[in-house]
Point group: C2
Chain length 378, copies 2
């Protein structure tokens, strides 16, 4: 039995139950346009990451704006996107074991499906699964360009894996996965540029060695919302995998642009609507959004347009607002929080409450989109 | 469309897909018995907190072991428990606004329903909702005994609220909610004892003033898994609201007993089963459980019985294992993690995979219980 949504289309903003995940449709649509224009203007493809939104509704809107497909991290996310009408999905991640690879190979009967590898066993397993289901899977060799997570070292090791892929009848060597995760949240543009320039050295070297080995690198994928401009201008990466740009969160807002001001290429389009359920003393207001409503792994959610008010001390179902007592809201008041980290926050909710005219007197619920891949872990 | 579960009853342990939330049924049942015996032996009632498990299946098992009902934090959790057959539910939290209170009052036609108040407006709203639905709601006045979250100060303020409750025709004054959240995770028994002894002073004083005002305090509720022995022995609290005891998590395991050894009244019964999807270098194994599988708000999940292996650097869908290279698992290997914090971790999953004989060669899936109130936020 699915949980009832906190609102219905047509309701006014004040009728939305709390807590709720609010999508500012106007800001979201402007973010879609901004990223589409940027990537098209720089001659790179956009394959946005669905791990951020987990929603076929949003995926199809990104594709309508020119995106070539979607990235996911999990086979179950790919299944939900394909069922929702997405025809080109890359699992930008390693997939281990026959059970998961069988599910992925089955999907390749309905859509173009790719995955990443960083081990000969992974190549063998993927090739066998593709053979069992009589399909061909696209394969990117993942290289570690500085994030120290998955991926082999750039250079010869990667070339050997690519050659193993190319030898398979059921795999198609697609190119390289070269994503630098930790660079996304380096605060200054200089740090981010230096990290991506270092990543570019190894990536370029690997592309050249692949070329010498007779292997064309159709895709060089990577980049996130924090660094996509650097990869887009590099001449090396040609497929941008940013996800958070559609929403923006408090953590990305701490990144700085070249002039030292906060990163503001994209607008905050995702919010948690929360209400004060208790105000026992004048300098403490307790809201109905805690760990189960807003992820704090990258810092606290931030009250939106509430100067002097700080969200602090979350427990599972409570958050405490402190700060300037004059600015603190009262019992029953509502306010918007900018999520600290959008991806795991989205994964706590079942519905996007799409609001048109947010921050205006005419704010109303226009759409209700299920977060269909919420909890898609396998 | 609900997501498919990661296992089916009857399967062997090795057939469970990853990541999955594993309930060790044997340890869980022993934890049920341990807490039931303790509370019954000390003449206090047990009203376990369903915010931890979010499952009518587990609630009914606690009640079968003598629990008088359940606590929840949210109206939507109460709805799901009542639908699942629980007949006595306390919202151990403030509930603000007519919309939520109407839902709660409707439930009181099917079950005994209580809630907490810490403001005259909350009392008025609850009384009006109960009148609209022709029911009586039980009401506890919440006092702040040191947690600095919700609740009025002990003493006269609480008595005035209790009198306001008692004057209402549609509310029944039930007693006091006196929960000290921050005391649960103080590491030494001396710190926890001191915190609860301070809490007891204000609570006892309030009970006495209520008595002088002619108000009997049938319920003095509170306590958690970290301090329940202290409240049970206090002679003041008579209803224990512990939740985590059924599962134990890594954070509670950091609490110390009187002799300085780790808290081990209860056994670890909840685990995340995860698999290594990448091992790009000998001293780093990457598992398929990150922020969306295991909450890190109270510290990292801990590898179970993997001496020398440390879980670190989680990202949304990845966790990195480091430590002794000889002990690190290989690509495709599986291991169990003890959640850092059980409540928000449970809330990330849709199913408990109940395993009989975990840690034995005969380990197999016996039950599959939906986490029915997962995501019940309103």
């Amino acid at each position: 039995m699915p949980l009832p949504p906190p609102a219905q289309p047509g309701q006014s903003f004040v009728e939305i139950d709390t807590p709720a995940l609010i999508l500012d449709l106007d800001a979201f649509e402007r973010n879609l346009v901004t990223m589409a224009a940027y990537t098209q203007g720089h001659g790179v493809r956009l394959r946005p990451h669905a791990k951020t939104h987990k929603s076929p509704e949003i995926a199809l809107r990104q594709i309508a704006h020119g995106a070539v497909g979607q990235c996911v991290q999990k086979v179950s996310e790919a299944e939900i996107l394909v069922e929702g009408g997405v025809t080109d999905v890359l699992v930008s991640n390693e997939v281990a074991g026959a059970a998961k690879l069988d599910r992925l190979a089955k999907l390749a009967r309905q859509a173009r499906i790719g995955l990443c590898v960083d081990h000969l066993d992974g190549i063998r397993e993927a090739a066998e699964a593709a053979a069992r289901h009589d399909v061909v899977l696209d394969v990117l060799v993942e290289i570690d360009v500085g994030g120290r997570r998955c991926g082999v070292a750039p250079g010869e090791t990667a070339v050997r894996l690519a050659e193993a892929v190319a030898r398979s009848n059921t795999l198609r060597f697609g190119g390289l996965q070269a994503y630098h995760g930790t660079a996304q949240h380096m605060r200054s543009i200089d740090e981010r540029r230096e990290a991506i320039e270092r990543a570019a050295l190894g990536t370029r070297n690997t592309v050249e060695r692949l070329h010498q080995a007779g292997l064309a690198c159709a895709v060089v994928g990577g980049a996130g919302t924090g660094t996509f401009e650097i990869e887009s201008q590099s001449g090396i990466w040609n497929e941008i995998q940013a996800g958070s740009y559609i929403f923006m969160d408090a953590d990305y807002a701490r990144n700085r642009q070249a002039d030292g001001t906060p990163f503001r290429t994209f607008e905050h389009a995702l919010f948690i609507l929360t209400a004060v359920m208790s105000k026992p003393v004048p300098d403490r207001a307790v809201v109905d959004a805690g760990h189960k409503t807003a992820s704090v792994d990258s810092g606290m959610p931030m009250p939106f347009r509430r100067e002097g008010v700080i969200y602090t001390k979350p427990s599972d179902e409570h958050g405490v607002l402190t700060g300037d007592p004059i600015a603190l809201p009262h019992r029953g008041d509502r306010l918007l929080l900018i999520p600290g980290h959008c991806d795991p926050t989205v994964n706590l909710h079942d519905w996007y409450v799409g609001v048109r005219g947010l921050h205006t007197p005419d704010a109303h619920v226009e759409s209700l989109w299920p977060i269909a891949a919420r909890g898609a872990l396998t």
